[in-house]
């Protein structure tokens, strides 16, 4: 069913949350941040991967790549866990875990210096 369904309220005045206003963000919840940050990390990744292909040995680019991959990937794992049925009230905990594991993994990989 791809046809757009009828929208009987078109033309009537309606308020929408304006994301440009501070008020809309004052009470933002963890799940929203997790979603947003994961997408920002994805956009960042595209840029960093391009830079990395140009010069694979630049340390700052490697650091950014590692950080973004961990961040994006772990937030993805969090989403998968929720999709598989972990209750949504674990949002906050899973978000924190993703951040902590990410930082720990970054530190470990970075000290290891495998090449």
């Amino acid at each position: 069913m791809s046809a757009r369904r009828a929208e009987p309220f078109r033309g009537r005045k309606m308020l929408t949350r304006r994301m440009g206003s501070g008020e809309a963000w004052r009470d933002t919840k963890v799940g929203m941040w997790a979603w947003l940050l994961q997408r920002v990390a994805a956009i960042g990744l595209v840029a960093v991967i391009a830079a990395h292909l140009k010069n694979p040995f630049a340390r700052p680019v490697q650091a950014a790549l590692l950080a973004l991959v961990l961040f994006h990937g772990l937030l993805g794992v969090r989403t998968i866990l929720l999709d598989f049925g972990l209750p949504a009230r674990w949002h906050r905990l899973l978000f924190l875990l993703a951040l902590l594991v990410g930082v720990a993994a970054f530190a470990a990989f970075w000290r290891w210096r495998w090449y």
């Binding site: 369904r5 009537r12 005045k13 308020l15 929408t16 008020e23 949504a88």
Partner: protein, 238 residues
């Protein structure tokens, strides 16, 4: 305390009107609005019914968050001016009053209406599902929805995509799909498999964060999605 209240009526321009109320102990946002309406501005329109946090008709956006005005104490809000707006994503009628029809429409679109099936009746009349059964416990929280619309107002995906039925309708679908007395599971799962329905939810859980009945529409939607995926592989119920 300063209240900045959203004002609009058909044909006029929207504005935030400033009012001053003396916040007494235990005073709620609804109390303040009633007082303003009685004493200083009889044209102020808002809606309420039970005044004790049961019916959901006083749902509005206070300081950027969906809340029931009758249960929101002024003393629990930040000291700065308190902004009061009508729910987002609902057509405005006037000031803080919105038209709740979209909830009903979305429910009808998703066929979220009970249809008696073969198991609807048993020997003693209408079949009952015991309160301790697994079937009942699975939907126990979700059936408490009072249709206040706060979840719909809080959902960023509802504002992004007018075809998305939103958390309230999908939560209702979830309760019906789990009801063994209902006979329309197949039709309904066809409806929720349409474009822009289950796939639209990004699990941000804004709906869950604001639901005054502590329902988690997010969990309901994800459960429907799991069911749909299992169905694709030919396993699991509709």
């Amino acid at each position: 305390m300063v209240l900045k209240v959203f004002r609009w009526s058909p044909g006029s321009r929207e504005r935030l009107q400033k009012y001053w109320v003396k916040a007494r102990q235990g005073m709620t946002v609804l109390d303040a609005l009633v007082e303003l309406q009685r004493n200083s501005d009889a044209t102020l329109a808002f809606r309420y019914a039970c005044r004790v946090g049961m019916c959901g008709s006083c749902a509005m956006v206070v300081n950027g968050r969906e809340r029931w005005a009758c249960r929101t104490l002024l003393s629990n809000l930040a000291r700065g001016p308190v902004t009061v707006r009508p729910l987002y994503q609902f057509p405005l009628i006037r000031d803080l009053v919105v038209d709740m029809a979209p909830i009903k429409n979305k429910m009808l679109e998703m066929k979220a209406v009970f249809v008696p099936g073969r198991r609807a009746m048993d020997g003693d009349g209408f079949a009952q599902i015991g309160s301790r059964t697994r079937e009942r416990r699975a939907i126990d929280a979700a059936i408490e929805c009072i249709g206040c619309g706060m979840c719909v107002s809080a959902c960023t995906m509802v504002s992004h995509d007018p075809n998305f039925p939103g958390p309230a309708a999908l939560n209702r679908v979830f309760t019906l799909q789990r009801d063994s007395r209902d006979g329309a599971h197949a039709d309904r799962s066809q409806a929720v498999l349409a474009e822009d329905v289950l796939t639209r939810c990004h699990g941000q859980a804004n709906c869950t964060a604001v639901c005054p009945m502590e329902i988690s529409p997010t969990d309901s939607i994800l459960a429907l999605r799991r069911r749909a995926v299992l169905r694709l592989f030919g396993i699991g119920p509709r």
